[in-house]
Symmetry: C2
Subunit: 159 residues, 2 copies
DNA sequence: GGTGAAAGCACCGAGTT
DNA sequence: AACTCGGTGCTTTCACC
């Protein structure tokens, strides 16, 4: 995978858009003392390069009744079944992300549910997939998301 | 936390905006056969209710040279140190999310790094936090994100 | 690669049904 | 609650630097 170099202006633009994709390009332009046209061209360039893959809303799932988060580690009967099981897992809507991992588990995923009862159903569905030997669940008591803005500044500025 | 009820139109609007926050309200209106003003009012309502917390870009971190993902389970010397350690963890920019969990680990977090060398540095920083007894790392060999669109449709439509 | 202005639209609030 | 409509302001393009 090619590594793409961004300059300081690109970083500043990303910083602002990452916090709010709807911030007007004219505002960005004012802050960075460049023209709105330039902002537009640079954003387009980052989109074309695939650095900006898309945009999405941040939804408050708790307000929608989904306040249960857990991580589930999956042990397979045989690692050759990894691909098959991963495909099945991705058919389950309540699994938000799945990873093939080294270490203790073969597959590791995050689930989002309404409550413990609902989570139980999801975990049973995972257990029922062919090739899954057993699962181990870690319930999240508190989620703490890192601040995106700081992430961008500190991580990517150094490149 | 109060549970907020969304109707079919709200769901359709969210579905479109979740795929692309910059899709014009006029396009949404055309597709749903309502007026752009109505789209505007409904989005505003969801923002005011806090359902829509914000918006963000999806960045291709791999293209920026950050292709390493791992999960780190943390064992504390004493659970009373949870809050303190969590605060320290959140100061580390490469930790994208941290959870207080039940089960095997006390705290559980996800890190994003350039490579194994870089990951090692981050894990050492975690190990060095006062109160951390030891850590256990699971390296992600493959990440598989669930499709957002399907998530919204299948999960929230039923409420 | 950047600018600035102009044309084309989108947003958004007010007033109406 | 939803619609129309008009003012305001944003995006996007393009000729020029």
């Amino acid at each position: 995978m090619a590594k793409f170099r961004l300059d300081e202006v690109d970083h500043q633009i990303l910083d602002m858009l990452i916090d709010n994709t709807r911030v007007p390009f004219t505002d960005i332009a004012k802050k960075l003392l460049i023209s709105a046209g330039t902002v537009h061209v640079r954003v387009k360039k980052m989109e074309d390069a695939g650095i900006i893959k898309g945009s999405s809303l941040t939804i408050d799932y708790k307000k929608l009744g989904y306040s249960f988060i857990a991580y589930v580690g999956i042990f397979l009967q045989n690692t050759s079944q990894t691909k098959f099981v991963l495909e099945r897992i991705n058919l389950l809507p309540y699994v938000t992300v799945a990873h093939v991992t080294t270490g203790k588990f073969n597959i590791f995923c995050k689930i989002r549910a309404k409550d413990t009862e609902h989570a139980k159903d999801i975990i049973f569905m995972l257990d029922d997939i062919d090739g899954v030997y057993r699962t181990e669940t870690m319930i999240s008591l508190e989620e703490s998301l890192n601040d995106k803005k700081r992430l961008m500044h500190d991580i990517f500025r150094e490149m």
